[in-house]
Amino acid sequence: MIELTPKNFEEEVNNAKTPVIVDFWAEWCMPCKMLAPIFEELSKFYGERLKFTKVNTEENPELSSKFGISGIPSLVVFNKGEIVDRITGFAPKEVMKQKIDAIIDNL
């Protein structure tokens, strides 16, 4: 999965041909650790429809502050470089799928 940094953000998110979902996480956050394998499985499920990326908030504080992240895990969906919606906090895989569908089906 693509790890975003301030350097590659524009290329990977703003210039992406599909909507992009970004997982803001940190090593110290247990719900983030629980979400990681689910996020990985979802990336396979959505395939070409949605690009899955993540941001390590500890290593990239510029990105978390730029997008106003003050609670993690936080999933942010971008389309053509604009924020479309956010999903805050952990949710189980099937519930996450419904939330993501509700966002990308409207794009």
Binding site: A26, W28, C29, M30, P31, C32, K33, M34, I38, T57, E58, S64, G68, I69, S70, G71, I72, P73, S74, R86, T88, G89, F90, A91, P92, K93, E94, V95, Q98
Partner: protein
């Protein structure tokens, strides 16, 4: 609809241990759980046999892998409804239905919410229930913590490492955390205790800006952490008529059965094990519930 011998609701220590046992009893087992439960909040567990020191999450990953290896089927989803149809239970999630003659409720407890206006709206925009997750985002900010128990005080101390000012807002006169913890934070110049006070509302624009207090004052804040204890997750039990205590825990017999035939319960959601509510008592109750399910299923299959 897929049929099982037992459906376990909850995938924390109680639910997954129950699954280890039911699978070994050759019962077709489904676990439906959202996560590993509140144990994952424990960064250091040093009293679980076999693990000198590990995080709750690490131990749960092992128990989870163990249950899967033995053949338990685990679905990561939220149960929305449980209904009884004749002698079977129908367990519904957002997308599917499952059926079994027995269920084990091991859904544990969850963090209590304040239930005040703005709490939901500002979740992730200043409102948080996880100090270890979100504390570092409040560097040089002003943060409030609601609560007076051990976790509220520990959260205050943790967040004070980052924030410039931390208020502990507690509804009573004296914090109820352990005296050693309280005297520790009283020494911390960044931490101020506001007692006999409730937060009645939170306000802001894109992000949280202030808390409205019942003393009539507003408190300017960038973050509000809510640490007011836990409540049992019993939303599913009411339609089945499961007997609860006044504090909404499930009343269970010594064999983890409830007052409803075919319904068993284990872990933090019950009043068994002398209300100890530890990982090991959850596991223990899970194993007893599984054995009771085995006896019950054998009885009805005869």
């Amino acid at each position: 609809m897929e049929k099982y011998d037992t459906i376990i609701i909850g995938s924390g220590p109680a639910g997954l241990t129950a699954a280890i046992y039911t699978v070994r009893y050759n019962l077709k087992t489904l676990v439906i759980g959202q996560d590993f439960g509140l144990i994952t909040e424990a960064h250091k567990v040093e009293n679980y046999p076999g693990f000198e020191s590990a995080s709750g999450f690490e131990i749960m990953e092992k128990i989870n892998a163990h249950a899967i290896k033995l053949g338990a089927e685990i679905v990561n989803d939220t149960v929305l409804k449980v209904e009884k149809e004749k002698k079977e239970f129908i367990v519904k999630t957002g997308s599917k239905k499952y059926q079994a003659p027995t269920i084990i409720i091991a859904s544990g407890t969850k963090k209590r919410k304040l239930n005040i206006p703005g709490e939901e709206e500002f979740l992730g925009k200043g409102v948080s229930y996880c100090a270890t997750c979100d504390g570092p985002f409040f560097k040089d900010k002003i943060v409030g913590i609601v609560g007076g128990n051990d976790s509220a005080v520990i959260a205050a101390e943790l967040i004070a490492q980052y924030a410039k000012k931390v208020y502990i807002i507690y509804r009573k006169e004296e914090l109820r955390a352990k005296p050693a913890l309280v005297s520790e934070i009283k020494k911390n110049k960044k931490i101020e205790i506001i007692n006999n006070t409730n937060v009645t509302k939170v306000k802001g624009d894109d992000v949280l800006k202030k808390a409205i207090l019942d003393t009539g004052n507003d408190l300017e804040l960038d973050g509000l952490f809510i640490e007011i204890g836990t409540v049992p997750v019993t939303a599913l039990t009411d339609p089945l008529g499961i007997k609860l205590t006044s504090a909404k825990f499930i009343e269970t017999a010594e064999n983890q059965s409830t007052n409803v035939n075919g319904v068993f319960a284990a872990g933090d959601i019950t009043t068994n094990s002398n209300n100890l509510r530890q990982m090991i008592t959850a596991a223990s109750e899970g194993s007893i519930a599984a054995t009771s399910v085995f006896n019950y299923v054998r009885g009805i299959k005869k």
